[in-house]
């Protein structure tokens, strides 16, 4: 058995783990990252790479807006294969009821300094002529963007390594706790702090952690440049993302720089096998065809699935883990969490890294961190 000592060891080399490694190594800490697969696997490999400001709650807005701005700052340094495009999001309103939601969003974002533009039916049609006619309009959020997540994770990880971080891949972690990480080959790594950034599998390493897998499906087409110009999301997406039970699909389509079209999205609870579920695939594609009939004739090249990490209150867990109940007495102060991002992992990764590092180093975070603290979920200690 070999031992090594670090200030921080991060379990999970996806976008969140890579961002944390980059941030912490950049602040001079001795960092190591362990992943059982390759850099940028897990949900990072499966997801859409949509950088989007969300308004489900003040806390969600705060985190996503902060992080989006960090992405914009980082943009000039991103290599070509990260494929960052500031194509903007259009939230599509199918009817007048959804237009009310459009106006509400516009006001909400406007009050917080996020530029948006209301599109009426005509301007929506001219911006996105392949949406079916009869849409009521939409909301354009021009500062949203898209990128290719595995290469973004690789960029951050390489920069972390240039800053001194060490990386161990292809090896699962067996156990973490009390400043020790034991790998499945019995190697042990010692660390002052262990960051659980294992996404959908975080609860395997930290018992009591309330993270559930939320399976999603995606389809990518052959190249049809110009067919869609912005990330298009139906307003019903919000109902899908924010229901806490049941399977749902929503229209969610993205233009990739290659000219391929990425089609999503679906959400399922309780499905933990990674095979493509035909029923969900069919529902998702039918929804997509309803919004963009031209998709029907397009050649599909691949389908795949991924698992989002979902928390009970739809906000991620960023900060020290104090145990599953308020009465946990193991005294283990070494574990921090950076996980539970559901569908916002790519967006929120940079901000997550910042506020995690601020908590570890005791510096003042740029946004309030209370809403993301793991302690908020700790249950009251039950008396016998």
């Amino acid at each position: 058995m070999s031992k090594a000592t670090y200030d921080v060891v991060i379990v999970g080399g996806g976008i969140v783990g890579a961002a944390c490694a980059d941030e912490l190594a950049g602040r001079g800490l001795r960092v190591a990252v362990v992943d059982r697969d390759v850099v940028g696997s897990g949900a990072t490999a499966a997801g859409m790479g949509h950088i989007v400001v969300m308004d489900d709650s003040e806390a969600q807005f705060g985190l996503t807006r902060y992080s989006q701005q960090l992405w914009q700052e980082l943009r000039p340094e991103l290599p070509d294969d990260v494929e960052y495009e500031q194509c903007g999001t259009i939230w599509v309103a199918a009817d007048e009821e959804e237009m009310i939601e459009v106006r509400r969003k516009r006001d909400y974002y406007g009050q917080r300094g996020v530029p948006t533009e209301i599109l009426d039916a005509q301007s929506l049609q001219s911006m996105e002529p392949n949406l079916r006619p009869g849409m009521a309009g939409g909301l354009l959020v021009p500062e949203d963007g898209v990128l290719y997540p595995p290469c973004a994770a690789r960029f951050l990880m390489e920069r972390a390594q240039q800053r001194g971080a060490k990386l161990r891949l292809d090896i699962p972690v067996a156990q973490i706790g009390m400043g020790q990480i034991r790998l499945t080959d019995d190697t042990q790594i010692s660390a002052e702090i262990i960051v659980n950034a294992a996404g959908a599998w975080a609860a395997d390493l930290t018992p009591g952690l309330e993270i559930k897998k939320r399976k999603g499906h995606l389809v990518i087409t052959d190249r049809y440049p110009g067919f869609v110009r912005h990330q298009l999301v139906e307003l019903g997406y919000l109902k899908s993302a924010h229901s806490v039970s049941g399977d749902s699909v929503a229209f969610n389509v993205q233009p990739r720089r290659t000219g391929q079209i990425l089609i999503g999205s679906s959400r399922q609870y309780g499905a933990d096998h990674k095979e493509v579920d035909n029923t969900m695939l069919v529902r998702m594609l039918q929804r997509a065809q309803e919004y963009m009939p031209g998709l029907a004739q397009m050649s599909t090249v691949r389908t795949w699935t991924g698992f989002r990490a979902a928390t009970p209150d739809k906000l991620p867990l960023i900060g020290p883990w104090t145990g599953a109940t308020t009465g946990d007495t193991t005294g283990d102060k070494s574990i921090y969490l950076a996980t539970g991002h559901e569908g916002l992992g790519i967006t929120a990764s940079l901000a997550t890294a910042r506020i995690l590092a601020d908590q570890i180093m005791g510096t003042k975070p740029e946004i309030p961190v209370e809403p993301y603290l793991p302690a908020r979920l700790a249950k009251e200690f039950a008396h016998a």
Binding site: D37, D81, D222, L281, A288, Q289, A296, V301, T303
Partner: protein, 414 residues
């Protein structure tokens, strides 16, 4: 065709589905329409006579539910409902990268032959045939017969392996006759063993090929390079359906049953063995699928012989390690996404390479670059997901049970 004919002759309702616009697959391309008398003719006639429903131009996308396949047709899609399924998905050529291999007029060996069968003029054209496997000789003979100037056949196998192969043929007298005929058909065509392509040259299309021959590089001006390195079984659809696979071949028992109930597999996907093997296995699968076990049993002796031949082919035409050294840093390996050898070499697995370079994410779904990278880097492929072949969104979005019944009582061939 053999499976369908045998099953239909037992009185079973049979349909054949094929992506190509005519029956015959690769070996019998263009020979099933009765215009000429060839080896394919008896089987084509039996398919016609036994009332098999022939559905050409269809490609299977995936299985919606057990017993129902979804397939794409030229103008739409359909459901194929079955009680028994025989997978005869054949094999494709293995392509290995070398400098210049992406130039127009560099094709597979079977590839160039297919093009000639579909109307490509070859009389008077200079062709170099290279790679490995018995297909090279068959293709060279075919091209030669049709008036091509076959400049050279470059077989990478060593003389000793080829000699052993020839000697071992005593077990299959029919093949000795075939061999003698081939040798006669190829009289005057230079043949080199221990030989392989080093580079293809040309501005916009192929102009010449440099080959390695007797340890020296030799340049041959030519119009076409027909280059393929033996065959890779098409196991994608069997894999998608859950059939167990080992060493790149679908696992079957003596009656061609796969590990999935009601699903049979015959021919190249169970192990590359050539036409005779495919015919025997096809017949066994058709008979077994029709419940005629005794009749299928009668063919088991021939099947054993055929499988021995398949193993002999594998041994003789295994790839030499020098072929790993053919690509240069900038030689493209993934042709769909233009990923170079040097970019791929940085990664330790197919999965990592796919994620970070997009190798294998193009429309060929890794059919070209997959076997190449498996050989070059010893990577293992990923699991197969739908669609098993690129199909339209509407095909993937089809809900089974709601489609109008088509082809219900269509009979006869095309």
């Amino acid at each position: 065709m053999a499976a369908a004919a045998r099953a239909a002759e037992c009185g079973v309702r049979v349909g054949i589905v094929d992506d190509n616009f005519r029956l015959g697959g690769q070996i019998w391309r263009g020979e099933s329409d009765g215009r000429q008398k060839t080896d394919a003719s008896p089987w084509a006639e039996r398919v016609r006579a036994s009332g098999v429903t022939v559905l050409c131009g269809l490609r299977v996308a995936h299985q919606q539910e057990s017993g129902v396949l979804v397939a794409e047709t030229p103008n739409g899609f359909c459901e194929l409902t079955y009680e028994k399924l025989v997978l005869a998905t054949g094999a494709r050529e293995r392509f290995l990268p070398f400098p210049g291999w992406t130039l127009p007029n560099v094709m597979g060996a079977g590839g160039l032959q297919a093009m000639v069968k579909c109307g490509l003029p070859i009389r008077g054209k200079r062709v170099v045939v290279a790679g490995t496997g018995p297909l090279l000789l068959a293709v060279a003979a075919y091209l030669h017969q049709h008036g091509a100037e076959v400049m050279m056949i470059c077989e990478q196998a060593a003389w000793a392996d080829l000699a052993s192969f020839v000697l071992a043929l005593f077990r299959w007298p029919g093949k000795i006759l075939q061999g003698i005929r081939l040798k006669r058909d190829l009289a005057g065509v230079p043949f080199a063993e221990n030989s392989w392509p080093l580079a293809a040259h040309g501005q916009q299309t192929l102009e010449s090929v440099t080959i390695s021959h007797a340890g020296k590089a030799e340049s041959i001006p030519c119009d076409y390079l027909a280059c393929g390195f033996h065959l890779v079984p098409n196991i994608e659809l069997p894999s998608l359906l859950g059939c167990a696979v080992a060493n790149g071949c679908v696992q079957v028992d003596d009656f061609q049953r796969t590990t999935v109930p009601s699903v049979f597999c015959a021919g190249e996907p169970t192990g590359v063995g050539g036409v005779e093997s495919a015919l025997i296995e096809g017949q066994i699968a058709g008979l077994a699928a029709a419940g005629r076990v005794t009749e299928a049993e009668a063919l088991l002796g021939e099947r054993r012989k055929a499988r021995r031949f398949a193993r002999l082919l594998d041994r003789t035409f295994r790839l030499r390690s020098e072929l790993r050294g053919l690509p240069l840093s900038e030689t493209l390996v993934c042709r769909c996404e233009d990923v170079s050898y040097s970019r791929l070499r940085q990664h330790s697995s197919w999965r990592a390479a796919k994620l970070h370079t997009r190798c294998g994410m193009g429309p060929c779904q890794g059919r070209v670059c997959g076997p190449a990278t498996q050989f070059l880097f010893k990577w293992n492929p990923d699991s197969v997901r739908p669609p098993v072949f690129p199909v339209r969104v509407e095909t993937l979005a089809a809900v089974t049970g709601q489609l109008p019944a088509q082809y219900s009582e269509v009979t006869g061939g095309q």
